[in-house]
């Protein structure tokens, strides 16, 4: 019970998230040497050979995120991914977990609106690697979706959703995504809704699996203590028995809001939780670099951002205030967030709006641009200083079809950004007059 307090956990975590989502990498003369090929089954493989540590990291990524759900069946995508790990090729959830634990392997994964991913970290020694990969392969290729496990997990998920519906942080983010995306699938909660999860059947999961877990188009990322030949064999094995489904259709384009939405929700918490935003950008968007560098100055650069300076450092109104773009297959959100005690919530919100308005109207200074570039470019080596970080870049580059030299050209892309481009991009892409604003813990509610 040695609790730790971090000076700015929340902001820092989001800044990392935003950076990761944007996947800016670049340079490093000793750059990452990525090998790419296709398996016989039609999956794309991205491999980095590295024998420094006796570890192998693998991830496999499918276009099977929550945006594949419908409002009526919200939750099917997430439950499918989760249930795959809880019963496969006749092995129970207990057996799967024990077999992984017996060799010290770690089964992980990621799930968001675009993507469903499975990750495996194992020692590279033969016995450990073989057993871990055997279980991993069965999870991917022979999921059983046991009926009784589905019933049990649905009850757990529903309890979790009911709890989330009482907590200000989850209430605000759910309301934010719903208001921002309306009927677009990005509005759907990744965990589903209480009444839709209750209705999920085994047939729904089997159908979803057959449709979205095809080998064709799946992206396999591998880094670690394997030769190219060994990596090729691993990639063939884990993709060989996947369904023969067609590549998933593109996610529909996002419609921009034509009028503002402000939603105030009463809550007994001592703080108001405030979110503001607008649909942002997609991967590969030509405005991505100017917006990313600009956002570093606005609210992405932690302690040196304008939002932190104005709202926290000068006035002590918040512990955390941040902004980020989360580029996705289609326009992911631009979001500003903060929490402050209720009686100063209106003042803080006004200040945030002024800071944003001023930023969009006047842009940034040459000195700010120089500082932003120095941090982003100078910080590049820390983006690729571990196998687990590189694995995530491989997955992202592969999943979003970014150029193979993405990491190598990153610094020059940042270097090229100008003050004028940032001002132009922000004023074209963000329309504060049509922003969504969510306030949970409405200061005026009785």
């Amino acid at each position: 019970m040695h609790m730790q307090l971090i000076r700015k956990t929340f902001t820092a975590a989001l800044a990392v998230l935003a950076a990761g989502l944007l996947a800016f990498g670049s340079t490093a003369q000793a750059g990452v040497k990525i090998q790419k090929w296709q398996t016989a089954s039609g999956s794309e493989v991205y491999f980095v050979e590295n024998h420094d540590l006796p570890i192998v990291d693998i991830s496999i990524n499918f276009a099977a995120g929550a945006a594949r759900d419908t409002a009526q069946k919200s939750g099917v995508a997430g439950v499918t991914r989760y249930l795959m790990t809880l019963g496969a090729a006749g092995m129970s959830d207990e057996k799967i977990a024990n077999k992984m634990a017996d060799v010290g392997a770690i089964l992980g994964g990621d799930f968001d609106a675009d993507r469903a991913a499975f990750k495996l970290r194992t020692l590279s020694s033969e016995r450990e690697k073989t057993q871990a990969l055997d279980v991993f392969t069965k999870i991917l290729q022979q999921p059983d979706f046991p009926e009784e496990v589905l019933t049990r997990e649905k009850a757990r998920i529903i309890s979790g959703l009911q709890e989330s519906a009482t907590q200000p942080e989850s209430i605000s983010s759910k309301a934010f995504m719903a208001a921002l995306y309306g009927s677009h699938p990005y509005s759907l909660d990744e965990s589903g809704e209480v009444d839709t999860v209750a209705k999920i059947s085994r047939a729904d999961l089997l159908g979803f699996y057959q449709q979205y877990y095809g080998a064709k188009g799946a992206v396999v990322a591998i880094i670690g203590d394997l030769s190219r030949e060994q990596a090729a064999a691993v990639a063939e094995n884990i993709t060989a028995g996947l369904p023969a489904s067609a590549i998933a259709a593109p996610i529909p384009a996002v419609t921009l809001p034509t009028q503002p939405v402000e939603k105030r929700i009463a809550h007994p918490a001592s703080q108001s939780h405030i979110l503001l935003g607008y649909p942002g950008i997609k991967r590969g968007d030509p405005d991505l670099f100017p917006l990313y560098v600009g956002n570093y100055v606005l609210g992405g650069g932690g302690f040196v951002s304008r939002l932190t300076e104005e709202v926290r450092e000068k006035r002590g109104l918040v512990y955390s205030v941040y902004s980020y773009f989360a580029p996705m297959a289609e326009a992911g959100p631009f979001q500003i967030g903060l929490q402050t005690k209720k009686d100063q919530a209106e003042d803080a919100l006004k200040l945030v709006k002024e800071t944003l308005g001023n930023f969009i109207k006047n842009g940034i200074t040459e000195a700010e641009l120089k500082a932003a570039k120095a941090n982003i470019i100078g910080g590049f080596p820390m983006r690729i200083d571990s196998n687990s970080k590189i694995l995530d870049y491989l997955s992202m580059i592969g999943f979003y079809k970014l150029p193979l030299n993405y990491l190598d050209t990153y610094n020059s892309s940042v270097e090229k950004v100008t003050v004028a481009q940032i001002k132009d991009a922000f004023s074209r892409r963000l329309k504060p007059e049509n922003f969504v604003t969510i306030i949970v813990g409405d200061p005026n509610a009785k």
Binding site: M1, A28, I55, A101, A155, S388
Partner: protein, 453 residues
């Protein structure tokens, strides 16, 4: 004065073909300890300054001051004005932050390796020359109060945890929250923070940990150049404040807006004291692993998956404690329609089973396999390795105990696991904290079943 240079030998035979990490230890004349772990995989460096000052060292009426001072450490010195610390690190492409716990306060930077001198220059400067102004304090204390609201006051499980600590400990300072009580924060003054800085911020109360693509000898010279001129201080006397033995179960209930109840229970158990000869702390670690080390471990398998009494359940134990106190904790959330009382009985039943029937060799081997693998996986994170070194050094052990840690766990027998369960997990030594969920609409009727207690 340079003391020692050692090479960590890898424990596992199959790994012997991989380069062993090299750790070296130095001590400056003013008492500052420096530990350098060379890791040449990437051209980066992590630099961490660990102060042996945490909430453990606070006194009543001034709770939270260790953490407030951590915030104030970014508010300027004679040479570096408020806010500039962060800007200088950012301009070098770096990340920086700090964290405070019961046992320590740590400041860190992650940089491209050529910028290590900047980190040392700034850390040495603020170790001695902090300019703690009333004006900056007045703003920052408001930030910390917002942090408390966000982190504890509006988070039901955090409130349960705070109440649990205050119940399981009565005399020991671990009873008080690291963030501090709100009333103490409201009444804290800049002088309280100055006093804290004056008392504890000194080279002889700090450990500098550097992990990265560096040469240990060069780091030592650099440390002497920047930190060498700082003066050692006489540190305040630390009282042991040993917690009296608990005889009789304790209970506390927290009411907060939530849907689900929550249960947190724990027993006083020993922390690591003599790393070479102790065995109980290692057995307690293995016990925690048997109960919740993986998704098929006992608590999740039996309470979540089989009987479905809980939607989650876990056990935890931390053998590292500068306050020489630890708790073996269990926590769980009941399933819809189940009460915390039913869940508590089920958790106690799991403990009872271990006392009566022990644990299997298979379960032990599984926990040990995880420990061995984790010891390899950690080498993928320089920051985490620095954290481990800094934590054990600040508690008062040598980083060298990390080397032998996997072997210590591997040596634990089923009989030892059963023995610590029998010796410490006793009803008279139990503290139970529960969350009684309240509706978020104050006009609504309470949800769920009333709670037994």
């Amino acid at each position: 004065m340079r003391t020692k240079s050692l090479l960590i030998l890898l424990l596992m035979m199959p790994l012997s073909v991989f380069a062993a990490p090299s750790v070296q230890e130095f001590k400056l004349d003013n008492g500052l300890k420096l530990i350098v772990q060379e890791d040449h995989r990437s051209p980066v460096v992590v630099s961490q300054v660990w102060y042996r000052a945490g909430s453990l060292d606070e006194v009543n009426g001034k709770t939270g001051v260790a953490h407030v001072l951590e915030h104030m450490m970014f508010k300027g010195t004679k040479e570096v004005k408020a806010g500039q610390f962060s800007r200088l690190i950012a301009a070098a492409g770096g990340k920086e932050n700090a964290f405070t716990s019961t046992d320590y306060t740590c400041y860190f930077q992650q940089l491209e390796k050529s910028h290590l001198p900047l980190s040392f220059k700034l850390e040495a400067d603020r170790m001695a020359n902090l300019q703690l102004t009333d004006e900056e304090f007045a703003k920052e204390i408001k930030v910390v109060m917002e942090e408390r609201r966000w982190r504890t006051d509006d988070k039901p499980q955090s409130k349960v945890n705070e109440a649990f600590q205050g119940t399981v400990y009565r005399a020991h300072p671990y009873s008080r929250p690291v963030i501090g009580f709100m009333n103490d924060l409201e009444n804290m003054t800049a002088d309280d923070a100055r006093e804290w800085y004056h008392n504890w911020y000194a080279p002889n109360n700090a450990t500098l940990v550097v992990v990265g693509d560096v040469k240990a000898e060069e780091v030592y010279q650099l440390a002497k150049q920047h930190f060498g001129k700082l003066k050692a201080k006489a540190l305040p006397v630390r009282k042991p404040q040993v917690e009296p033995e608990q005889i009789g179960e304790r209970r506390t209930v927290v009411k907060a807006p939530a849907k689900l109840p929550y249960l947190l229970m724990g027993y006083h158990v020993p922390a690591l004291d003599h790393p070479e000869t102790d065995w109980e702390p290692y057995a307690l670690e293995v016990l925690a692993g048997v109960l919740s080390g993986n998704p098929a471990a006992r608590l999740n398998q039996r309470l979540v998956r089989e009987t479905q009494l809980a939607i989650d359940a876990s056990a935890g134990y931390d053998l590292m404690s500068r306050g020489h106190q630890s708790v073996f904790a269990l926590d769980a959330t009941p399933s819809e329609g189940k009460t915390v009382a039913e869940l508590e009985a089920a958790l106690l039943q799991q403990i009872e089973e271990i006392k009566v029937s022990g644990v299997t060799t298979e379960e032990l081997d599984r926990v040990k396999a995880g420990v061995i693998a984790a010891d390899v996986y950690k080498r993928d994170s320089m920051f985490y390795q620095g954290m481990q070194i800094g934590t054990v050094e600040t508690i008062g052990f040598s980083w060298k105990i990390l080397e032998d840690y996997p072997n210590k766990l591997r040596a634990v027998t089923p009989e030892q696991v059963q023995a610590v369960a029998r010796k410490y997990l006793l009803k008279d030594n139990l503290t139970v904290a529960t969350l009684d969920p309240q509706p978020i609409d104050p006009n609504a009727k309470p949800q769920g079943k009333p709670h037994v207690h």
